[in-house]
Amino acid sequence: MKYIDEYRDGELAKGIARTIAAEADPARSYHLMEFCGGHTHAISRYGLEDILPPNVRMVHGPGCPVCVLPIGRIDAAIWLAKQPGVILCTYGDMMRVPGSKRISLLKAKAEGCDIRMVWSTMDALKLAQANPDKNVVFFAIGFETTTPPTAVALKQAQALDLKNFFVFCNHVLTPSAIAQILDSPEVRTLGTVKLDGFIGPAHVSTIIGSAPYEYFAEEYQRPVVIAGFEPLDVLQAVLMLVRQVNEGRFQVENEFARAVTRDGNAKAKALVAEVFELRKSFEWRGLGLVPYSALRIKQPFAAFDAERKWEVPQDSVADNKACECGAILRGVKRPTDCKLFGTICTPENPMGSCMVSAEGACAAHWTYGRFRDSKAEA
């Protein structure tokens, strides 16, 4: 597969890893946070930490939109699915995430709700056109990569003058999440969490461009390297970060130049700006209320806003007290530091956000990496 296989060459990977080992200063350690769930997944799935030198460590950040969606919003989606005449459409990732009372969309479907898994917003629009007597609600989640497709769907719904298509909007913003982490006391003042640099998200950056990260690099004096999703991309980005740290630089560099430019995708950004506006604040699971971090539908598209059509419950539901997801999302703790990890909390029975999605730090560690814990025990 072109533009995929070449970026997965095992021999090149080992070569780059050797270079990293040669350039990493043995007198210090490097803590690099990968922000995007896709990167967390790639690192775990290819076992990249095994080929990095021991003083270069990856810290998993809150880059998984499934993980940061609060329980209250999942409950709200299930509530919508239960409204008479509603077909709720969702991306596959959300199906198994449990809300409060351990009900997930999958379980609600088994109990009789009409919930359909879709691959694209276009499928949801088609469903609305094919079922004029039903109300089709699209459960919109995701960072800036996934927002433009929802914007397109809303514009098309408007053009088609659909009366039965709605969006339940939960789109969130990447820079806000990064700021939350960097502003947290553990990072900014206490210095208990060492973060030396960031691997910037791949596909979010194709949309927003590399420019938005320049603020962070400058303000927080940390280098950012935007990386593609393939293992060689990630390794190359690690090398570039190690070099920046060694040289005392804090710039935005773009490893994913084949798809990311400084300005990103102007057409997509314009579409999003036309349809969405900022919410004053939004709850993030594990991070609490974050100002100006999420989007809602603008007035001209109000007819398609599920939250205006129905009185959707806006409850805030707390996580299990023993759940360490908040700390894990901010890179303060690791999955194995949580009492619930592997005991009560597993992918079959996720207690918190880090376990619900395959890209969450706990799920990734459980699914791909927990053999390392037993080595440590031995």
């Binding site: 997965r8 990977a13 053999f371």
Partner: protein
Amino acid sequence: MTLPRRSHPRPLDIAHGRVDLTHGGGGRAMQQLVEELFVAAFDNEALNQRNDQAAFDVPAGRMVMTTDGYVISPLFFPGGDIGSLAVHGTVNDVAMAGAKPLSLSAGFIIEEGFPLADLKRIVDSMARASKEAGVPVVTGDTKVVEKGKGDGIFITTAGIGLVPPGVTISGDRARAGDAILVSGTMGDHGVAVMSQRESLGFESAILSDSAALHTLVAEMVAAIPDIHVLRDPTRGGLAATLNEIAAQAGIGMALKETAIPIKAEVRGACELLGLDPLYVANEGKLICICAPEHAEQLLAIMRAHPLGKDAAQIGVCREDAHHFVQMETAMGGNRVVDWLAGEQLPRIC
């Protein structure tokens, strides 16, 4: 002159007819369906006797018996259909004990309104698969359920077979040091089925690998009677099956990602859908775990057989108190190949 009395005034209207509740009622309509469709297609001595059961002498030795249910949706997919799948799947379950399959039973639960043309297509396909495999369907049953209660058609089967002397194949016989072999490419069936599901909307040239493996197994077992484990990685794919065996035998496994054969198109389809080919179902492949000194010979036998051309050794068994199935990735790192909680894809078998 008396007119000859025909049992059924008109033959089944295969082209336009549908199954209705009379076909399951035990009366003449059902008899006609059984005669003109099932018995005509399967056509063997036992079935032709038209009893409710098949009688036969029990051969001396150790027997195996297996049962299966087929609920696959869609019913027709590239490379097969629910009928041929039912024969292949049941024959394979028997063959995975190293046994020679002797005969099959087939029960049909059909939804009212099911087109006779589709039923005939399925039954003919099943009969063809059965004849090609040399394993007759000796007894059957037909039921019809009301519209809305049956989703087209479900098929349940049972199969029996005879285990050759000296052969004790069982999941718990895998030992540390054993070689882990596969007979060919992984993930073909699941992707072929997905390609038919409307909501997924992609076209690809991937065919299901649905096939009867008993002749391949017979050759392997004749050469090496002391094979430890045979299993076909159906639902849950290679990953689920290896985890099952690891748990049964109380061992761990170490695989090499680059050694696992996967077709390029299957990789592409799985990439597109965010699936891991290790977890996608196969219906014409087997996993073989054997003592390391037998691996080379078994690989040669598999590769010489039409169903084993891409056979490869993918790893070894080892001591591991946690029973992890671990894999060295193409990058040289390590990961666990976990036992997934649930089905990645519903109703693919």
